[in-house]
Amino acid sequence: MTGGQAGRLRHAEHVMGTVVSFDVPDWAGEALGQAVRWLHQVDRTFSPYLADSDVSRFGAGELSLAHCAPELTEVLEACAAVSALSGGYFTTRPGGRFDPSGYVKGWAIERAAAMITAAGSAEHSVNGGGDVQCVGDRGSGQPWRIGIADPLRPGALALVVAGRDFAVATSGVAERGPHIVNPHTGEPATDLASVTVVGPGLTLTDAYATAAFAMGSGARDWVESLDGYEAFAITSRGADWQTSGFRAYLT
């Protein structure tokens, strides 16, 4: 499915169990195709739902790391770093079995956006099922405007953030029900209805959002301690909070 306004190309690709939406210059179709192929390649390698993916076979002990795609080593090392930084709230075993999806999706989307940058675009965005990488601005010097879905009012927006060259990732319960587990208790995280993290690149922004959601009420101080990242959360009781620098993204 493609569409859009003059000068722009919009494309929505069903991949990785969700839909990835592209907004790119209309001449960047070839790079868009390359990015789409990359996402399908990531899916084949990293999907925990495909029995013959490297991630499934590695998790089952059928395949050694040395025989997996080299990107898996890179992902594992990065996951370990995020896990350490988050005090163990980020984990590659969220449901008890090996599943690095909490890192892989943001990483794959940021890379897809970088491919389109490499092809010469300075103004595009890629939205991976609700986690967005924005490159440059939306044109004419205007910042990208990203609506934050309100988890307590389906279909409505909680607020809008605006920015350039930034990433916006939200973790929450809205679409799939409680699915992020607090690794320290083994129970679903319930403090927050959703938490949105804003930062420079989607890879870490998305991983931090996942960790922040598992962390719950402690996430505010934690994100406050991260240089270059800000957060906005809606609690399960309908209250909200934001870190001190978040207001810079409000319009």
Partner: protein, 167 residues
């Protein structure tokens, strides 16, 4: 100029049913865009020829929603745009927006479930809510939506789906 002109988001009997619309600016190609899931189509009856006004001022909120298409009886300067057919557990729902200068001036119901007691609820409560949320999204002028990951199936009902089709 790249922005959401019209977006419909609505909750119908516990489901989020989304109907999206493609704006038809004078300079935009008039080709219809099909949805990713193939559940509906977007079409317009033509361009108004007017310059779209800034969408920050509130559009008219219709007080009632006539049944059936109004496309054949519009005054000059008004355009009918049909939404996607949203499939709900009660049956298909489709509405039509009447636009003037990129603003919603009227809403008509093209399809709504007619067979069960629940349909009364849909007609009485869901459409006013739907219209209100439309106007919220219309004035928000957003490029994308960040939220808890939607599934591939959930995408079709999502606001992002409307953006992909209608911006």
């Amino acid at each position: 100029m790249r922005r959401v002109i019209l977006t419909i988001v609505g909750t119908i009997a516990g489901l989020v049913a989304l109907l999206s619309f493609k704006s038809h600016l004078p300079t935009a190609p008039s080709a219809a865009v099909s949805t990713a899931g193939g559940t509906g189509s977007t079409s317009g009856t033509g361009s108004t020829g007017g310059t779209p006004a800034a969408s920050s001022s509130p559009a008219t909120v219709p007080g009632e929603f006539p049944m059936g298409s109004l496309a054949g009886q519009l005054p000059a300067g008004e355009t009918a745009v049909n939404g996607h057919v949203a499939t709900t557990v009660y049956g298909p729902v489709q509405i039509q927006l009447i636009m003037r200068n990129s603003k919603i001036v009227k809403v008509a119901v093209l399809q709504q479930p007619m067979n069960t007691v629940n349909d009364i609820q849909i007609g009485d409560f869901a459409f006013p809510k739907l219209i209100g949320e439309t106007l919220t999204a219309q004035t928000a002028k957003i490029d994308a939506v960040s939220g808890a990951s939607y599934t591939s199936a959930g995408y079709i009902k999502s606001l992002q789906s409307a953006l992909d089709n209608g911006a």
